[in-house]
Symmetry: C2
Subunit: 441 residues, 2 copies
């Protein structure tokens, strides 16, 4: 791999907050979002996080700090959705990110620094929106640990479907109900069928769950009827956010045979505002494993590049903040911690599989990875796994119990990459709050 | 029901082609599409079919023939997508349709007639596009005859899933690959697993199928977290087109447990250009049946209005035109004929169910009804039913056989309503052509 200056941990920014230990947004990260000043009537526009500030790309596009491809990319980012920027492709993404890196790096104070400083908006003063017009949202199911954890609860004799180790399974999800961190999620009403009953009942979901996932934003797409080869696939991914695939388990399990989840999932999906670029994640690539005694990928999913460094060590945590936590001023409690490196199928394989039949991806499409669970109990990515479908309720430190989510619960995801000799690459936070059902008592 | 002048079969148009027997587009129909002159660089814009002509709503919006709500509606239709018009709601839809009816009706020759005549474009000279920016596409599964026909082939002991008679089952489909009549559909590549084999194989789909469905375009939507009550639901539907849910059965059946169809469906969906309004279909409403010994709908799906006239007698035919038909100048052959009146769940129930958990519908969303099969063998809506999964291949009149679709096949849907004392309300034609797989021999 060529030396990439934006990966060099020794580089620092003239913005002091970007150099603090534990900061999610050092100069080596530079993730993208769409924002405006909270409570304002400003137009939403693109921004890049640095320390405790946002570089306002709308403001930057009205300066002369950048030229060439980076300037064109900045103009594309001055809109309320990043689709046009995504469509420009990796050369443009890289040009803008590298030029921002250069402008933000410690240098003798220059007039450029002053101009850029005028383009900064404090992170704490911003509100965010979904960063692209999402044409289609696809949700994969690519953690074998999640599949086994859930499968063992309901089909202990046969927990894994026969296709799991051959197919990066996925289904189409709902675009209209995708919201950004802070989303208020109303507990859905719906049909469910209790074991042994003769008829389903209508009522508020009694088994509300989260699923911790990552979301991949597609950059350049493919023409209908064409394929994206597995070795070209990652160049079609702009970057990664965190994603909460809220799930109403009672509604889902009753409805899903034979066509899959529908109302059990489509009431809300929450994504984090910041999209971390694939380039920023490069230092955290790892070998992708497939044990010799397991099925090996079919040729269209096989790739030396994937084998060598197709896995990504993105660390993830789920935190629960209950109404009681808030009332007493207590901290939220961590429920689980895992890493994306355990995923059974890699990012490139998801993209190649999605297009193998000619389905056309478009800039701004969103691909969920599916729940991310690791090999141990504490690494489970959904409460149905942690509390074993309610058989072993979680006991919180403050004495509360949870089999599933309660009204007033806030679910908070945190994500980051970190290792010695490398800068921390943070994803920020993804938060969603459970509100009571409509018409419920 | 109030007397609606646009349903009066005695009314005729000054445009002679609209009054011919068998015409799909008499003055009582007035369906909407988005079109331009074929081969031109004109902007796409809305149009209304009348006889063998299209009223160009872009041109009409630049005249002074209409005023008030109808004029506003026409302006909304002058765009390359009808979303803004859909969002205006039933009063606007009705105002425009009724004013067009008045302008097109036989009257002493007037200056208005001359102005309108200048807004006509011959149907034969037009090309069409998908008539709305579709935010989300949902495909239902609401024919019990289709579910039983397919279920009996693969699970003869248990052909119907337990939820079918309780839940208007649905899944989210792919928006990006939806095309309009005339779409060229490349046979998809993908994974499939043959019975008794130890591993799947990669190759061109060997079991390519169509499904005849209707497509419902959503008018006004609902806010996230809110519901549309079953008795309000039809007011949220602008109108209906025909829809071909192309299906790669071998790919679909291998991938679909547990999350439903994905690559088996997402390579292409073909819709007819003309959207017939719910108002034009009113005379073809019928009683909706649910036998006393069957499960009755839960309260949120129960409606006196649905019971009284929730079914729609829309007649549908599937025709197959093979390469040999074309080479020899032979007519296409009809494979099946059925009616939407047999559907197990009604339009209003689909919309109410879709929103019961708070999922937000938006103007321009598309809902497929699922395959429409009737109670007898000839009424089957997919070739997998007609040829019993290849066990009894179809023998065509010209000597060809089909278990599934062959390259070069064109699948043509026709749809219409017709009964004594009422005008024929036609849907036109929906055509799609099968092209060879990529990289196939």
């Amino acid at each position: 791999m060529q030396l990439n200056p934006t990966h060099d941990v020794t580089r620092k920014s003239w913005l002091a907050s970007a150099n603090k230990p534990g900061c999610d947004f050092p100069i080596q990260n530079l993730p993208f979002a769409v924002f405006r000043r909270a409570g304002s009537n400003e137009a939403f526009r693109g921004g890049v996080a640095i320390g405790d500030q946002i570089v306002d790309l709308g403001a930057l596009s009205r300066t002369t700090l950048l030229d060439g491809l980076a300037a064109q990319a900045t103009s594309a980012c001055a809109q309320p959705a990043l689709n046009d920027f995504f469509a420009m492709g990796p050369a443009a993404w890289r040009a803008l990110r590298h030029d921002l890196f250069a402008l933000l790096e410690s240098t003798p104070k220059s007039s450029a620094t002053d101009v850029l400083r005028d383009c900064l908006v404090p992170l704490a003063a911003a509100e965010f929106t979904v960063p692209a017009r999402i044409g289609d949202y696809t949700d994969f199911y690519t953690s074998i640990h999640h599949a086994l954890n859930v499968g063992r609860l309901f089909r202990p004799e046969d927990p894994l479907t026969p296709n799991f180790q051959w197919v990066p399974t996925a289904y189409h999800g709902r675009v209209s109900s995708i919201g950004v961190s802070g989303q208020k999620v109303r507990r859905p009403m719906g049909q469910s069928m209790s074991p042994g009953e003769a008829a389903p009942v209508y009522g508020a979901c009694a088994r509300l769950d989260y699923e911790i996932e990552l979301g991949l934003f597609i950059g350049q797409g493919n023409a209908q009827g064409e394929q994206i080869a597995v070795d070209d696939a990652e160049a079609h991914v702009f970057g990664i956010c965190m994603l909460n695939d809220w799930s109403a388990r009672d509604i889902q399990f009753w409805e899903m045979a034979p066509l899959g989840p529908f109302l059990g999932k489509n009431f809300a999906t929450t994504i984090s505002p910041w999209i971390v670029t694939m380039e920023a994640l490069e230092p955290y690539r790892q070998e992708w494993h497939r044990a010799a005694d397991e099925p090996q990928p079919l040729a269209y999913l096989e790739s030396k590049h994937v084998r060598t460094d197709g896995a990504l060590d993105i660390q993830l945590e789920v935190w629960l903040e209950t109404a009681q936590h808030r009332a007493r001023g207590d901290h939220a409690e961590r429920l689980s911690r895992t890493s994306f490196k355990h995923q059974y199928w890699a990012v490139a394989q998801m993209v190649a599989h999605h297009t193998v039949g000619g389905c056309n991806l478009q800039p701004g499409d969103l691909l969920g990875t599916g729940t991310i669970s690791g090999p141990t109990d504490i690494e489970a990515g959904a409460i149905i796994e942690l509390a074993r479908a309610g058989r072993t309720p979680l006991k919180l430190i403050n004495g509360e119990e949870r089999s599933f989510l309660a009204d007033g619960d806030a679910v908070i995801f945190k994500g980051w990459c970190e290792k010695p000799g490398h800068a921390r690459i943070g994803f920020g936070e993804n938060r969603g709050e459970v509100h009571p059902a409509l018409n419920a008592q």
